[in-house]
Amino acid sequence: MILTMKKYIFVFLVTVLSLTSCNKYLDLQSLDTPAVEVYFKSQEEIDLGLTGVYSAAYWDTGNNLPMPVLLDLFADTGLERAAGIASGSFDAANGTIQNYWRLIYRTVSRANVLLEGMQKGKATTIPAQFNRAEGEAQVLRAWAYFHLMSLWGDVPFYMKPLTDDEIYTLSRTPRAEIVNALVADLDNAAAKLDWVPTQRGRVSRGVALGIKAKLLLLDKRFSQAAEAANILINSNQYNLNPNFQNLFRKNTMATNAGREIMFELVLPDNAQFPASFVGLGQGSRAIAAQSGRFPLQALVDRFECIDGKRIDQSPLYDPANISRNRDPRLKWTVTIHGDTITGLAGGSLRRCVFNVLEASTRFFNFGNSTWTTATNADFSNPFGPVNNGMGTLWAKYTYDETQDYFSSKMGYAYMRFSEILLTYAEAKIEAGQLDASVVEAVNRVRRRAGMPNVDASIAGNIAGMRQLVRRERAVELANEGSRLNDIRRWEIGNLVMNTSVWGAQRAVGVVPPIPTFGAAGSAQNLNDVPDYNAAGTSRFKREQRFFDPSKHNLFPIPQRELDINKNLRQNSGW
């Protein structure tokens, strides 16, 4: 019996010992991916987490394109080669829309995880550095919510990592409430940040206030928006850069003489990826780029003539040579038939005359500085500006001879001071506070562009100023992602989107008639919406777009979200 007992004790001990050693054997924790619960304790860890938040704010859907470049194609300024969102033919299951939703919320999530987690390190880090990191994360979160609200209206809103229950029960918070919370948060962040970002690519106090102004404008709280913009303007920390065209080239973006570029994407020179395919996807086929995104004629015709008058009103306008006597910004925004273009592609510098009317065009030989005629891919390529586009190309962000289309490190400006000036002007006008400061804000933008000051006849006229500011936003900020938001705020989607897509002159010698802009005082006229119906076959034309004002002013909440969280309600009409 004793023997048996001993035996049992022995067996028991062996078992206990082996289980203990087994537990040690099985106790493994990740060595190279630290658990969130133990991280963000030091400044270094906080900064690494902050970089993670920034990395989520790139919102690249996989084509090496910053998101704003695509947003313009969803509005009446641009076109995708394959009919996309702008066609109006999409539903709540649309992959592009779902992608943006997911990407933008990633920024919110990472900022929340960091902002909560970094409190562990608050006592042991240097307050200034801690505050700066905290402020930047707050600004990035607000930046994300601004885009979410501008695309979807009311959205699920949270400022702390979600608990397991909240994940499935969150409902949409009204936009006004979100704006209230973010305005307070941005004020808090702005106080922690300097006017000048510590490194290019980071956000600053100016960006915090700029987002605040944009949020208030989005929510149509015009006087508050004007105030926020005014703080920025009066700070005298920012000014316009001297040259408009230099805002869209890598090296001069770095110079940023007037600190106009407030928030930007700066791609890494020391890594192959990401590269920017903005230029590649906009550039001419004849110089070996791969045009697939095109500007519309409606944008081209919104640029004034150099005398400050709209093309149907200016005596300087020449329908047979539409780039003559125009707002200088046109040349740097849109490439028009006859323009000479230069680009670096596949290691070779190439220059040609952009030609959408003939099968061959002139090419410059850099070796012997002569011009020769050769096949014109812009004309023949089945996917180029003639066969699939509008007869025009984007120029903004397209021509930088230092950057090869296939490995371009051209950055992208997310926020420029000129937008702040125009936001101020719009907010003041809509608030009924039209005064000299408004005219001056608009004049600053126009003067830099080489355009005359606001004509005295409209300087005190609300309707005239409203029209001018809208036109100014359209031409100054084209291809920078503001147009979709603008037409939604101005509620003119039905006017500008429910139409066929028209382009440039289509055949040699067949000059299209000058478009009409509607009767004076009409919404069409106020918003400078050209009517091309008289053009017939003289212009490039693509599909009829479809816009349902009862739903298309907002994107549908992705179906997947509604499938998972029954508390979410779809936007009306979807």
Binding site: C22, Y39, L50, G52, S55, S89, P156, Y168, A374, E561
Partner: protein, 1132 residues
């Protein structure tokens, strides 16, 4: 040349001397035993030292049964005996140190076979010693062959009624001297393990040759089970076992394909024919998990490995363990079934060398036919017009095509499929296997070299496999096992893209795109990015992956007393996974119609690069167990086993890359730009304690219990989630042992068996630490134009995550009719899976990927039937096996949720990942019809799919087609999986075929595989079948109207789901073995040649040009191969 172990040699020598000395001593145990041998015509095996000097007090009666007498005689000496076969017994000590090797109940394992043969040698020597040689003798000789005429070395030849006998030599020859009194009526018994004994009356002949027939009673087999072996007759679990001969009938590069169609309940689907990746996906009894690995655990000699890593030539047997009773011993890794592979070990006491090879050519089984250049232009124009756009191809161009020859300059009509699939897929396999076996050391050395070319350029697979399996007998009780294995597989693919992507592009790019103008002058393929699939295949560099694996394994087997075996091993596997991608750029050219020359257009891609990574995996496996087998009162048979297994894995990786290689030299140090590096480490540890007990009463009533206590580092220790206990129990009743059936001539064997148990699954996704919310270090961003590291939470963690549990119940029957002419096995089972880990979808606004949650349950109900018929008519032998199985999956609980993932829905009451979408009602014919119909999507026009208004937001049809109208359309689970496998032989000829198929299955087509002018990432064309599209004049079309950019018809719907049932001739083989008489002169034992074909034909109603075996084809695939093979087997 006899087969004997050293102990037995010693025994026989000693015995022979002693017999002379003590011949007269009737009480000497040795003599008593001899007397018994004579009397009962049996042979005893024993170590002579064991009975040396043992005397019986008085001579005991040896009346009655032999076994009774033996027991009476031996027990006082603390000796026991074991029945080896019907006339062979081993005598061993119950306490002492010496006993014959590996004496166990049951029929013979290879080791036992050696033992038995050596005993015959003993007998012969004994006979000589007795001086029988002095009598008048005659000589008889002959040759013993198997049914195919191959000699059987080591066959037993015994003169009936005596101890006189011998065994055949390596050429199957024997020579025997017998007293001439036997020359007329004497009967020789020829026997060999696995064959039926045959008796021949001497009738004065001096030459007697026989051909032995295989023993067809399959239930006599011994099968490998978890941590042991068991006779099939007493098995209570559900196990399918396959022998080397069954497997080697197919010539494949990946061993997983060998299982297809050969075992019930084991569904193998081949999704790809890509060299190095053409292995089958194995599912045992349906799918056992949603998110986790649903692949069975594969253990090769108790070490976990990939089945495809094993060289089929080295496989001795494969057991597929299907029910809980047979698998629960593997606890947390067994939920998806277990496949046990036993490799060959040295045997036979001699040296044999065999060489096997095969040479194959391969071609794609099936590919769709594309639109020609003219059709492309006309149909694309039609699609554009239908989409409200202008035509892209002017009539002038199309007419030019029609009126002019294709010149590949102005008029281009590229055969993309032909251009991309330029290789013949040549495959060769050579195996040299040396079996070197001596008394103490048994070794098998096998070397295999395989090369397999792909259909696309720069696509191939090379495998080199070397294995040493060595057993060293240190003492009679202690055996040392040492295995060395080296395997190097190298896969090469084009550097620019995977072959699957290249093939999808070849299927998708329009014929009007330029392929190649001259040698190396690639065109732009009509792609805006100029990515040309032919150039991608030929000139985009190479991606090579090589994963040399070395395994070192050392083990001990100790048998201190009869019936007790203690064994253990330590194995260390090293794998160095090397990946290297050299992305080369090539020049793209275009025809310049102005200068009439081919001119340089562009370089694609703009930058060349090299990246290399090395990941080293080190796996340690520790295993030890003890097995004790004993009997009580003759009829109560017990076997108990208990053991431990530990396994830990560590993987460490580094990677580096550079771009801009100036002289196109693909070496890291040559690159000048973008120097980057990466690294990582992961660890995993598993530990388990297991035990099993078997009891059977007279081989009639069978019981077994198993259990395993298992731990895994994948789960949280602090939350107490690491350990789980997985028990099972089973029972069987061998009805044919009952008196009422015992003499039955029809039912020669019958057994019913049942089992129940629980299993776990720890092989879950979400990395090695799914319990923790870990930050990912590679979320980088850029400040001041420089890369900065960032840390982000990409996937949430869940402390509570733990095992998936599965409960399985099985009821089965094994029948043999007409002495094995017909054998039937049938099983019915239920597999219930609880605590199923699910990536419970979370809304995207959460901002990271969901952690796993134990949140679901589902059930697989299924049955399996296997019927085999074997027979022989004269020289013609054949067998045919019919296998049929079915399993139905049903989701039982998802915590009141349902998961929609695009096309797939998991909903309670339906199969996992069912197809989910709209029902359709044909195509709209008129605009009036559209107006009258429920509101469809924008841009709906005649020729578009008409969807059904099934429901609405309020649960009733609402006149609107929206998400509420989606229903479950079907699912992709194969039903009625069947196989028909036949073998036949006649004289030297042999024949084998395997038909395999699925009786019912839904399969879905989408993307480039189904839709005209659709590819998400390049500019696409259409297929021939798109010509049957809806137009106002072709209203009964199969395909909707053509569009470009309008997605109304691409919405998930029943329109794109088809019947994926198929039957496929997986294998057909005809071989011829040269007669032994021809070969004997050149010392060749066996020489066989064969031709074979695989996937020769397929019967299916699926989409033309697409493989029904492949799931959910979106056009990106590598076709399964049709193979023609020539091969030979040589042994000398």
């Amino acid at each position: 040349m006899f087969f004997m172990t050293s102990e037995v040699i010693k025994a026989q020598e000693t015995a022979s001397h002693q017999t002379q000395a003590k011949q007269a001593d009737r009480h000497a145990l040795a003599n008593v035993l001899k007397e018994l041998e004579n009397r009962y015509q049996v042979v005893f095996f024993y170590d002579a030292q064991l009975i040396q000097d043992l005397k019986m007090d008085k001579f005991k009666s040896i009346d009655g049964s032999l076994e009774k007498s033996l027991k009476k005689i031996l027990t006082p000496f603390k000796l026991t005996f074991t029945k080896l076969s019907h006339n062979n017994y081993a005598i061993s000590s119950t306490i002492a140190t010496k006993k014959p090797e590996k004496a166990k109940t049951g029929l013979l394992t290879p080791e036992k076979e050696i033992l038995m043969l050596s005993s015959i040698a003993t007998t012969e020597r004994k006979i000589d010693a007795l001086g029988l040689g002095a009598l008048a003798e005659i000589g008889i000789s002959g040759i013993v062959t198997d049914e195919s005429g191959s000699p059987i070395p080591g066959a037993n030849v015994l003169l009936k009624g005596t101890n006189i006998g011998t065994i055949t030599d390596q050429n199957g020859k024997y020579a025997l001297k017998i007293a001439d009194t036997y020359k007329d009526n004497g009967v020789l018994i020829f026997s060999f393990v696995g064959y039926l004994s045959q008796e021949m009356t001497i009738s004065g002949q001096s030459q007697i040759s026989v051909s032995l027939l295989p023993d067809t009673r399959t239930l006599a087999e011994v099968v490998v089970v978890g941590y042991g072996e068991q006779r099939k007759a007493t098995l209570t679990g559900s196990v399918s076992s396959l022998k080397n001969e069954d497997l080697l009938k197919r010539q494949v590069a990946s061993a997983s394909n060998l299982l297809q169609g050969l075992a019930t309940g084991v569904v193998v689907t081949q999704q790809s024919g890509k060299p190095g990746a053409d292995g089958g996906t194995i599912r045992i009894r349906g799918v056992g998990s949603i998110t986790s690995n649903a692949a069975p655990l594969v253990l090769v000699d108790n070490v976990e490995m990939s089945l495809d890593a094993i060289d089929p030539n080295m496989i001795e047997s494969i057991s597929v363990l299907k029910d809980a009773a047979s698998t629960s011993i593997f606890g947390s890794r067994a939920a998806n079934g277990v496949i046990l592979v036993k490799t060959k070990r040295g045997t036979g006491g001699k040296t044999t060398v065999s060489y096997n090879n095969f040479l194959s050519v391969q071609q794609a089984t099936n590919l769709p036919q594309k639109l020609s250049a003219i059709d492309h232009m006309e149909l694309y124009n039609e699609a554009l017009v239908n989409s409200g756009r202008a035509r892209a191809f002017p009539d002038a161009l199309i007419n030019g095509y029609k009126q002019n020859p294709i010149d590949n300059f102005r008029y281009i009509d590229t055969d993309w499929i032909g251009g991309v699939m330029s290789n013949n897929g040549f495959m060769q396999n050579h195996n040299l296997l040396v079996n070197a076996s001596t008394e103490r050391v048994n070794t098998v050395i096998s070397g295999t070299y395989l090369t397999q070319n792909g259909l696309t350029a720069n696509t191939d697979f090379k495998k080199f496999d070397l294995r040493f399996n060595t057993d060293i007998k240190l003492t009679s009780k202690l055996k040392l096992l040492g295995d060395l294995w080296y395997n190097q597989s190298t896969t090469t693919e084009p550097g620019g893209a995977t072959p699957e992507f290249i093939i999808r592009q070849a299927l998708g790019v329009p014929a009007i795109g330029a392929g190649k103008f001259g040698d190396g002058q690639y065109g732009d393929a009509a792609q805006s990015n100029k990515r040309n699939p032919i150039a991608q295949a030929e000139a985009s560099g190479q991606r090579t992956s090589a994963a040399p694996t070395t395994m070192l394994k050392a083990g001990l087997q100790y048998t201190p007393i009869a019936g007790l075996t203690i064994e253990g091993f330590y194995a260390r596997n090293f794998t160095t996974d090397r990946n290297r991608t050299y992305l080369k750029n090539y020049n793209v050219f275009r025809p310049d119609l102005v200068s009439n020359t081919i001119i340089f257009d562009n370089l694609y891609p703009g930058v060349n690069s090299i990246s290399e990574s090395v990941v080293t995996f080190v796996k340690n496996t520790y295993w030890a167990q003890a097995t004790y087998e004993f009997k009580l009162q003759e009829s109560h048979n017990f076997k108990v086993m208990s053991g431990f297994q530990g396994e830990d894995i560590e993987s460490r990786g580094i990677g580096a890359s550079r771009t801009n290689l100036p002289s196109d030299q693909p070496y890291l140090n040559v690159g000048t730009q973008n120097q980057q590096n990466s690294g990582g480490i992961n660890q995993l540890a598993l530990a388990g304690f297991f035990a099993r007990a078997n009891y059977n009463y007279k081989d009639k009533y069978l019981f077994e219990i198993n259990g395993r206590y298992d731990g895994s580092s994948r789960f949280s220790q602090s939350a107490g989630k690491q350990w789980g206990f997985f028990p099972s129990a089973s029972a069987g009743w061998v009805i044919s042992e009952e008196s009422f059936l015992k003499q039955n001539k029809i039912v020669t064997f019958a057994k019913v068996r049942t089992s129940y148990g629980t299993l776990g699954n720890q092989n879950i996704p979400g990395g090695f630490y799914p319990f923790a919310s870990n930050l990912s270090p590679n979320t980088n961003y850029y400040f001041n134009n420089a890369l900065n590291s960032g840390y982000s939470l990409l996937t949430g963690g869940n402390q509570g995550v733990t095992w998936e549990k599965s409960t399985q119940a099985n009821l089965g029957i094994d029948l043999e009719l007409f002495s094995g002419k017909i054998s039937i096995t049938a099983d019915i089972y239920q597999r219930k899976i609880d605590d199923m880990l699910i990536n419970v979808p979370i809304p995207s606004y959460v901002g990271y990927d969901p952690p796993l949650r134990n949140a679901g349950s589902m059930v697989n109900n299924g049955w399996e039937l296997s019927i085999k018929h074997r027979n022989k008519i004269g020289d013609f032998r054949y067998d045919i096996t019919f296998l049929l199985s079915d399993v139905r999956n049903e989701v039982k609980d998802l915590r009141n949720q349902e998961f929609v993932n695009g096309l797939f829905l998991s909903r309670v009451g339906y199969a996992l990942n069912s197809y989910y979408g709209y029902l359709t009602e044909g195509l709209f014919q008129t605009t009036d019809e559209i107006k009258a119909a429920p509101t469809h999507f924008a841009n709906t026009a005649p020729g578009d799919i008409r969807y059904s208004d099934v429901s609405g937001a309020q649960g009733v049809p609402d006149g609107k087609i929206d998400q509420f109208d989606r229903v479950v359309l079907g699912n992709n689970f194969p039903r009625y999986d069947f196989g028909i496998n036949g073998n036949a032989s006649w004289k030297g000829f042999d024949f084998n075929f395997l038909l395999q198929g699925v009786g019912k299955r839904d399969n879905y087509m989408s993307g480039t595989g189904a839709w005209a002018f659709f590819a998400s990432d390049f500019i696409a064309t259409g297929y021939e079948f798109h010509k049957d599209r809806w137009t106002p004049t072709n209203t009964g079309a199969d395909y909707p109207r053509l569009t470009d950019g309008i997605t109304n018809n691409q919405i998930n719907s029943a329109y794109w789901m088809r019947n994926g049932a198929y039957m496929r001739l997986k294998n057909l083989q005809i071989g011829y073995t040269l007669p032994t008489t021809w070969l004997a002169k050149v010392k060749i034992q066996q020489l066989r040649f064969y031709v074979a074909g695989s996937n020769l034909f397929t019967i299916s109603n699926f989409y033309k040009g697409f493989d029904p075996e492949r799931n959910d084809n979106n056009g990106e695939f590598y076709p399964v191969m049709k193979t023609y093979t020539f091969g030979m087997n040589l042994r000398f």
